[in-house]
């Protein structure tokens, strides 16, 4: 038996990537075999190679898609000219975007080392671009005197680590919903960048 019913090329490709995402997040890139991914889709391992040249590309595609989406989506979310509002917007965007894509975030942080140098450099550069968005806000706010920040680079990294950490413990249906969480983190972020009393 070969094709089962109708043409599947436009649906199998995404399904393979979705299965890979799920399994990579659950077990790690190296611990997942092409056969497991194929089984999740309901297909033989060989079929995957109609859509992807090798296993590495599966991971690279997922990460690349994640970073591209992240950079494209944040652009319209950041108001110009008001650093405090921009920081607030960044926090809420970051938490919302990441909580909606926990698996993607997870593998993008965990499996960087599984990438070949070329892909590694690309993803690292894109992540740097994203962090620059926040650093820009902090620098602008410091220049305007609305923030009091000793080292914008460190504060950027501290904030991003703090925000991304949410994905490690957030569970849907838990004590707090996404809105509550975003409120808390926005408040903490605001305190971090303002002068102490």
């Amino acid at each position: 038996m070969a094709r089962k019913q109708g043409s599947h090329s436009d649906i199998t490709g995404p399904r393979i990537h979705a299965a890979a995402l799920k399994l990579f997040a659950e077990h790690g890139f190296a611990a997942v075999s092409m056969r497991q991914i194929a089984a999740e889709v309901g297909v033989q391992a060989g079929a995957i190679y109609n859509y992807v040249p090798h296993k590495q590309a599966l991971l690279a595609n997922l990460m690349r898609g994640h970073m591209d989406g992240l950079l494209a989506d944040i652009e319209p979310h950041l108001p110009e000219g008001d650093p405090m509002a921009a920081l607030d917007a960044f926090v809420r965007f970051h938490i919302g975007y990441h909580l909606d894509r926990v698996d993607l975030v997870f593998i993008s942080y965990m499996e960087l080392r599984a990438l070949e140098p070329e892909n590694f450099d690309l993803i690292t550069r894109l992540r740097g671009d994203y962090e620059k968005r926040l650093e820009r806000i902090l620098i602008d706010g410091t220049r305007d005197g609305v923030f009091d920040i000793a080292d914008p680079k460190i504060t950027t990294l501290a904030l991003i680590a703090m925000l991304t950490g949410v994905t490690n413990w957030y569970r849907e249906g838990g004590r707090l919903d996404q809105g509550d969480i975003a409120d808390h983190y926005a408040a903490m972020a605001r305190r971090m960048v303002c002068a102490a009393p």
Copy 2:
């Protein structure tokens, strides 16, 4: 040829664990083979089984040792009765301890999922114990009115994520040394838990 010179049993065991630590941190647990670990030590793969019953135990030993050390070491570092001083001490201890053990921290966060349920539960519980130390400080400080914290649980998780994030970018000989970094993070932590101006 068997033994090369002198008795090695008390040195080979630690060397195997050290090699495993290095390689797990570099490539991930699943991506490292027993033969690679053995080669790093200068021994055949079979020799590892004189020291460890299976690969999984190698990982579990490393994580267990890390968490035990962490919990034992923090105890004498936290002053009683002064939440602000305790928070400061916690921040400095956490950063110092983690920056001295970047590889251990890395695999303890990354490879949790590679543990079998029994080991997973153990490590997760130990980590919870550690986080409780910080949460206790925050709760005490809030009770005493020196902190202003809406949700101690969330602030705990936010602080720990922020602090542990340092291990992702710190490089020895970089722009800032450990002391500078600890100062910055201590200041940020203080702001996070105090009422905004």
